[in-house]
C-alpha cells in the first residue's frame, strides 16, 4: 500500500519497538538522556528501573502524550510522529493510572474502546467477548467496573489494550498495588500472550521478581539506559547470582535506596 520512505519493510525485520537517541527534559530536569532500546517482535522485554528513573516519561513519549524532540521512536518501522496513525494501530497500552469508567459495565467499557479504533457492531462484540475470555472475566461482562477488585480491573485494562489486535503491548507498572495472587495472574496472562500470540511486550517495573531468565532486560536509571541484553548476559556482566544484585551493582544503588 502506501509505503512511505520512512517505513522499513517488515520482512526486513523491523523491531516491534525501536527507540533511538531519545532525550527529553522538563524545564531544567533531564528526564531521559540519550535513550536507545529495541524490543523485537514476540519478545517479553522488562524495562527495569526505580521510581523516577524515566519509565513513565518514556511511555509518554511512545504514546505521544509529548512529542520526542530528539531521536527516533518507531513501532514496526512506523515513526510515531510522522505516521502516528499506523504506529498507534499496532500499539496496545496499559497505563499506570486506572483508565476505565467505574460506573459503566465491563462490556460498555470495552465497546467504547473498540469504537476508538473504528470497530463496531458484531465485530466489536466478538472482540470484546474474546478479549474478556483471554483475561478470564467473560462471565462478568455485565458488571460495573466499580464492583471489581484491583487485579480484576487490571485484567480488564489488558483486555482493553488487546481489542484492536496490537502487535506490541506496553505496560507501565501494571502490577503496582496488587496482591500476590492478582500479580501472578496478570503476569501469566501477558506472558501467555507473548507465547501464544507472538506479541512483543515492554513491561516496565521496579519489582525484580517479575523478571524471568528468558526475558530481555533493559535497565533504566536516572534517565539513562545502563544495560540491554538477556538475563544470563546481565548476570555474567555483573558477576552476580540474581537480577536484584545485578541491578544494584550496575546502578550503584545501595540497599537503603532500594527500599525507598
Amino acid at each position: 500500500m502506501d509505503m512511505a520512505t520512512d517505513t522499513q519493510p517488515i520482512a526486513g525485520g523491523a523491531p516491534a519497538l525501536l527507540v533511538k537517541n531519545v532525550s527529553h527534559n522538563f524545564g531544567e530536569n533531564l528526564a531521559l538522556d540519550d535513550v536507545s532500546l529495541e524490543v523485537p517482535p514476540g519478545r517479553f522485554a522488562v524495562l527495569l528501573g526505580l521510581n523516577g528513573a524515566g519509565k513513565s516519561t518514556l511511555f509518554a513519549l511512545i504514546t505521544r502524550l509529548y512529542d520526542n524532540v530528539t531521536g527516533d521512536i518507531r513501532i514496526f518501522g512506523h515513526d510515531v510522529r510522522r505516521r502516528a496513525s499506523a504506529a498507534l494501530q499496532r500499539l496496545g497500552v496499559v497505563f499506570q493510572s486506572r483508565t476505565l469508567d467505574l460506573d459503566l459495565s465491563l462490556k460498555q467499557n470495552l465497546l467504547y474502546h473498540c469504537a476508538l479504533h473504528g470497530i463496531r457492531g458484531r465485530e466489536a462484540r466478538k472482540r470484546t467477548g474474546r478479549a474478556l475470555q483471554i483475561v478470564g472475566l467473560a462471565d462478568r461482562a455485565r458488571e460495573k467496573i466499580r464492583n471489581l477488585s484491583g487485579g480484576q480491573a487490571r485484567r480488564v485494562e489488558i483486555a482493553r489494550s488487546l481489542l484492536h489486535e496490537p502487535a506490541l503491548l506496553l505496560l507501565d507498572e501494571p502490577t503496582v498495588g496488587l496482591d500476590i495472587g492478582s500479580r501472578e495472574s496478570v503476569i501469566n496472562i501477558v506472558r501467555s500472550l507473548v507465547e501464544k500470540e507472538g506479541l512483543g511486550v515492554l513491561w516496565a517495573t521496579h519489582l525484580f521478581d517479575e523478571v524471568r531468565p528468558t526475558d530481555l532486560v533493559i535497565v533504566l536509571h536516572k534517565g539513562r539506559v545502563l544495560f540491554t541484553g538477556s538475563v544470563p548476559e546481565l548476570l555474567a556482566k555483573t558477576g552476580t547470582q540474581n537480577v536484584s544484585d545485578a541491578f544494584r551493582k550496575i546502578t550503584g544503588t545501595g540497599v537503603t535506596e532500594m527500599a525507598a
Binding site: M1, P40, P41, G42, L65, H117
Partner: protein, 359 residues
Amino acid sequence: MSAYSATTRNYEAVETRITERAWEFDPPRLGLRAYVTCFDGIVWREVLRYLYQRERFLSALVRPLIWLFIFAAGFRQTLGVSIIPPYETYVLYEVYVAPGLLGMILLFNAMQSSLSMVYDRETGAMRTLLVSPFPRSFLLVSKLIGGVAVAAIQAYVFLGIFYFWEADLPPNAYLLLLAAPTLLCVFLIFNGATERFSEAFVQNCLAATAIAELAVVVGVIYYWQLSAPSMNYIAVLPALIISGLMLGSLALFMSSVIRQLENFAGVMNFVIFPMFFASSALYPLWRVRESSVLLYELCLFNPFTHAVELIRFALYGQVDWTSLAVVLACTATFLGAAIYAYNPSKGLIARRGGPGAGV
C-alpha cells in the same frame, strides 16, 4: 539480524509465527465508517456516563430549576420586560429568562467537561482517548460534541419542566407529575444510606419510574387538554449545539492556557459569573444601557450574550443573523485555539507542564 546475539534462537522461533499474522502488512486505512464509529462511540460514552452518575444528573437539573422557580418568580414583579423581538406580546419574566437558563446549562456543562479534559490529560481516560489512531483534532471535537450532547439532554428536560410550569395547571396536576420522581428520590436516598437493594433492582426502579412518568405526562396533557408548547422546541436544537460547542471550546482553551482555572471555584468566579451576569441572559440589554453604557458595551462583546440571543430567537423559530454570525465565528476561533492549546505534544499545555508540575 537481531542485536541480541544470545537470544537469536528464541527470536527466530517466534518469528515464524509472527509472519502468519495479518499485521505484518500496513494496518487497514481508517475509512469514513471508522470515523463515524469512533464519533458515535465517544458521544455515546459521554451520554452513558452522565446517565449513570445519578448525583450529577440530579444536581445539573436542580440548578436551572432553582433559578426558574425562585429567582425568576421573585423577579416577576420587579422587572417588566417590554415588547422586544422575538417577542410579540408582553412576556412574563420566566419566559424571558428561559433562554438564559438554557445558556446557563450549556455554560456549566462546557466548563465541567473541559476542566475534566485538562485534569485527566495525563492520567486516566484522556490518555486512552489520545492513543486512538484517529487524528487528535477529530478526537477532541468528538469529545466536545459529547459534552454538548449531555448538555442538550439537560436542556430538553428543563424545557419539559418549563412547559408544565408555563401551562399553569391546577395543583393536583403538579402533584401527579411530581409523584414518581419524588418517590424515586426518596428511594434512592434510602438505598444510598442502607444499601439494601441490589444494583439490578435499582436499575429496574429507574426504568419503571421513567415509564410511569411518561404515562403521567401523557395523561396530564390529555386530561387538561394542554396546547402545544409556546416555543419551538425543535428549532432550538441547532442553536443549542453551536452555542454548546462554542462554550466548550472556549472553556477548553482557557483551562489549557490558564493554570489558575484548574479548579471549579476559580472557574465560577472568573468565568461563569462574569459571562453569565454580563449578558442578556437575565435582563434585556436596553435595560442595561439605561444604567450603564459601559456594561452594555461589555455585554455586547460577550459571546455568551450572542449564544443566548441565538437560542432565544431559535425558540420562536427565528434566526438572529448577527448572533449566528458571531457565534459561528467564535466557535471556529475558539475551536482552533483549543485544539492548538490542548494538543499535549505540541500545544501550550506541553510548555506549561503537567498538572503536577511545579513549573
